[in-house]
Point group: D2
Chain length 99, copies 4
């Protein structure tokens, strides 16, 4: 869960920051739609797709960071390390393989 | 460049198919914005991000396929294989590293 | 740190399992060297490279799982959640971008 | 197919260069085996795995480049663009998803 406090470093992101990034990503996807509509050069469209994927990776790392920092840490204190870790690894595996 | 003809197999995609997929991706990104807004469980949000990444990969492969089929093939006949290939590899490299 | 106990599910792996997988990966890389030596068809070599990368991802997830299960959980109890999480996200980010 | 001539730019690689890189990768994998054997800190092992993945990506791009430059270009002249492209996209898709 993302918090509203300002994180100070690394991949952390507040809820506001994640929402801002996602709105920007939505705009980038619309830009790619326009590029395809206008028959822009494929390589330029691919470059934009790579940029969106990098931005989504950054959102994913921000969410993961909040999850590890809050949920996994709390889970550890409640003896749920195994469960949390199994679930987390499945999520990281999907991100590495992309879906 | 994507064409309007119906491709018959593999990763090929018509311009219409690419646009439909991109509109769906735009909707998925909006869905992720809502999930973050509603403080949904991080792991569920991450699963959606992985789904968008997989969908973007599919659009990228459709564009790459059209590029190789048309531009690279034509380039080869005009003696521009080296140039086309260098450009293509840079694009594939960015997709593999995502940005 | 990988343990010698038999893990029961998910991505967990014992030290023995990780070592067995790494030895197999080493053999696969040698196989790719031979394929290049024998001028085997590029697409077949690429398929083998993808297989090695999938196997390395699996080793990485096994190591990450052990790390979250032991180090991050312990770190949480010692008030080092922030530090552990920042370090973990940097590692996951490198795995997602591959280097 | 990799050639023995010295390529001049981009991702191109001679057969010798690919073999040298693969031998280095084999050594890196052995180094990771030792790190696991010696119970080295997981995050450090993960960093090495990311380095091997990046090195394998570079070998893959070198092979792909040779393939596009020679096989796809020739295939285009023999009217086999469709077949070559379908096969190439399947290989790129596996590299993007890693296996």
């Amino acid at each position: 869960m993302a918090t509203n406090q300002t994180p100070t470093r690394g991949y952390s992101a507040t809820k506001d920051q994640l929402q801002t990034r996602l709105r920007r990503i939505e705009g980038q996807v619309r830009g790619i739609e326009r590029m395809v509509e206008e028959d822009r050069y494929c390589i330029d469209v691919l470059t934009q797709i790579s940029a969106v994927q990098a931005a989504l990776d950054k959102v994913a790392l921000g969410l993961l960071d909040g999850h590890v920092r809050h949920c996994v840490a709390e889970g550890a204190q409640e003896g749920k390390s195994d469960e949390m870790s199994t679930e987390l690894m499945a999520a990281v595996g999907r991100l590495m393989r992309r879906g």
